[in-house]
Amino acid sequence: MAEQPSIVKCLVWDLDNTLWQGTLLEDGEVKLPDSVRELITELDSRGILQSVASKNDHDQAWQQLEALGVAEYLILPRIGWGPKSDSVREIADELNFALDTIAFVDDQPSERAEVEFHLPQVRCYDAERLPEFAALPEFSPATVTVDSRRRRQMYQAGFLRKAAEAEFQGPSDDFLRSLELEMRIGRATEDELSRVEELTLRTSQMNATGVHYSISDLRGLLVDPRHEVLVTTLTDRFGPHGAVGLQLLERHAAVWNLKLLATSCRVVSFGAGSALLGWLGDQAAHAGVHLVADFRRTERNRMMEIAYRLAGFTDEPCDCRAGLTAPAQEDIQRLHLLPTPCDPPPTMKLHTVSLQSA
């Protein structure tokens, strides 16, 4: 029985007679078939990253890719004279992807054989098969989220950010300020739901309860007047981080119950979790209600507990607890906060909805 092949996360292209028709250094002129251009943009929109491993003159080849209008789709290009297996391995390392999530396409059997020999996990394809690519299951992710459509841009921004951080000298708060972080907190839209569901699944380190909410659970909560499903997105001067946080809130007369807080691990170092809790405390203070946050200790979410406690949440008893509905699971603890107004952190700009008006 053939198993369903796993999704390719990055496709590495050869250039001569694969991505374009012709040999750049011999013919001087090459052509990009429309079908290949369409394939590149299609894979990009599916969230599959694309790179280059080509034996060519780097500057000339890159200029050609720019002239053809496809350079922006190709990240971490490796154009030079070294073995392609090295290039493919470097690309995988840099992306922090396992080799079995990488695909390589080349018209030359000897190049494919060289990559296959050194990196047997990498899936190698003959350029003749390019017309089938869009229909192959390994290039067809089941769900395409808002963020997968932007994945390449987020990686490109990440490379720039990493370079800037390596160059920066001085206190880390100053570095954060230099990033010009902007955080948006808003009510979730239908379009964002798949990404929100993904956040409850993938954020094991920064998930306050470890409870998974399915798309249909979340859709039900979106229309429930008692519940708020809030999505946080973050951008900085290098580009978008995408959706990085989810808050699920149930309002009662005297208390708001934060049933779930999940943030992406990628943004912990920007203080996103603390900023979210600070904002929510401020909103609750202005609404004149207490806050109670559900928390369930898992092996991996210690940082989340630290964030709650440092934000002032305690185990203290309070009459407001009596008004809450039963927690989603028995072993959930409830941490209490008597909220006070709170300024946003100096390291980021906030654009938020007001929870007073609902």
């Binding site: 880390s172 708060d173 440092l310």
Partner: protein
Amino acid sequence: MSQDLTTTAESIAQTIAAFVSKRVGADVPADKDLFESGLVSSLFAMELVVHLEQAFSVQILGDDLKRDNFRSVQAMTALVLRLNGAE
């Protein structure tokens, strides 16, 4: 005995002060309120928790994680001493 305790407290305070000073790029008096003066962000506070646990082999749990325990070098020293003594 009390001599030992003083020495321990001093060396703990020194270790903590060195870590904080290095991060904020200035000398920090032991009683200075780090949150009030804006020297320490929530993010840095999280780092402090992890740093204290590793440097002094203690576990900081539950209500001990409250902000007041990290407010100054003095407060952190007292916390570490108490957690060490409790063992």
